[in-house]
Symmetry: D2
Subunit: 162 residues, 4 copies
């Protein structure tokens, strides 16, 4: 089984710019995370964009949908900011992509921080995508949810079922 990881940015990949003191995007950490996880899966990593998901608009979502549609793989993990994961889930579901298992995941703390949940979430998303039936899902907090049965609780930062 081959898996495609589509990188879109999000907290996952934020880094600290030591000259400005701000968080920014450079390259994705996903390949380094796969090495650290000694990942033995047949994975292709493709960077679609590197943005904060609060800045993701309709055309941006259309690009993500296009890249999923263009993927030969039927198992697809999308790294994504947590704030608008559900909206992108809807765009993917509305696109009527049949036969693909699509798992959106992200992180509450950037991987570059010692305390990041990113590696846990990546291991989780890559596992769910191998065994869940076709559909669009969110994998966070060790759990998986259909895209239309989950919300991010902005008070706690956790994803909850509806």
């Amino acid at each position: 089984m081959t898996i495609r990881i589509l990188v879109t940015g999000g907290t996952f990949d934020k880094e600290y710019d030591e000259l400005t003191g701000r968080l920014f995007f450079k390259d994705t950490h996903v390949p380094e995370m796969l090495r650290r996880g000694r990942c033995g899966l047949d994975v292709t990593v493709e960077t679609v964009m590197m943005i904060d998901s609060l800045e993701l608009d309709g055309p941006g979502r259309a690009r993500i949908v296009d890249r999923v549609r263009a993927s030969a793989e039927s198992a697809i993990v999308i790294t994504h900011g947590t704030d608008t994961m559900v909206q992108t889930g809807r765009a993917l579901a509305d696109a009527g992509l049949t036969g693909k298992t699509i798992v959106l995941t992200g992180a509450m703390v950037p991987y570059a921080f010692g305390s990041s949940d990113g590696l846990f979430n990546l291991g989780s998303a890559l596992s769910f995508v191998q065994v869940l039936p076709p559909g669009v899902y969110v994998a966070m907090n060790g759990r998986h949810f259909p895209w239309d049965a989950v919300r991010k609780n902005t008070d706690t930062g956790s994803f909850e079922g509806l």
Copy 2:
């Protein structure tokens, strides 16, 4: 769904003893890892033993089987040294525990090291255990294998299907 994590030690939980310069076991890191992963699952952690899996013998394996049998949960993750994961898988399979999904996982590098694969593997195992049918599995390298269709390649440190 509730999950039980049975801790048996292994590389996962090894620490550095700064007085002797040797690796040893103290407490399990699993609760800390669950916090770091912002794990939202209903998980109970039970420490069965803290040993190197090369030292695990028949009576030791019988204790693990007993703890699995005694668990109310039907989804069970066992953290375990990688060297004899398959032997413990056999002991569990031989015990004829029906209706339980049991996933063995571990790490190639202790969690206390910066470069550990442990958090990735824990996220992976907790995900697989929720969706795989009853049976005994090994989850390593982002993959899952039936216990009797996997071996650890001691040259590369990776798990391979048979």
Copy 3:
């Protein structure tokens, strides 16, 4: 010899707020850093403020000067944002505090990030403060400078002698 560490915030102590995605201040990491360095010095840590040094104004600097003057110790390390370290150095020098060795230090990357220089700088500042004659110094990049013979190169992020 006893040393006082006056904490004023700066990049050193910035943390990631996972609910807002912004960097912020909570508690200082200095005590944890001293434990990690197995610091055997007789050190007292006092938090004066927790702010970005770009927001430090005249009254703020006066408070720092007051705390230095009030310190019984003659060896004082001040953790401080790098952007205005020199201005605080001037305020301390202008205050005519005789008999005290005062070392300002900071970090280019928050301690909470894996790649932080903070622990290196703290080890350096605590060492310089024990052996330099009374005066006001900046310790960064493994070097020490009199406060009036140094500038931060904002293109490289390094401190340079004048």
Copy 4:
């Protein structure tokens, strides 16, 4: 001022061998540590040997003394296992190397572990070597000691003055 760092191994540079589960030496981490500390000093790193200091014998110490004597720099930091730091200090003192400030340092926990004191100690040693008068010193726990006025307390792991 130019500084030479002579690397001899010790806990500082121990790594985890994920195939054998043992600690071993590969390459020194000192250059990476200098980058992380944003070290702006003019430093040359020379690896003399990579061994556990308990295995360091007379000929080994003679090689260290030779490398110090051959160094053009008058400021020298030696990274060294903590167990026999004092013996190497004696060998250096007995060699009658005049005009050089020599600082031995090490770590209680390998740099590859998240909780290592190595970066703190390296920042400390590099600072002391710039300002102490010629002589042979041990820099550990944020402190400096003349080589003949210090011992490692093997119960606590800390260095104490005599």
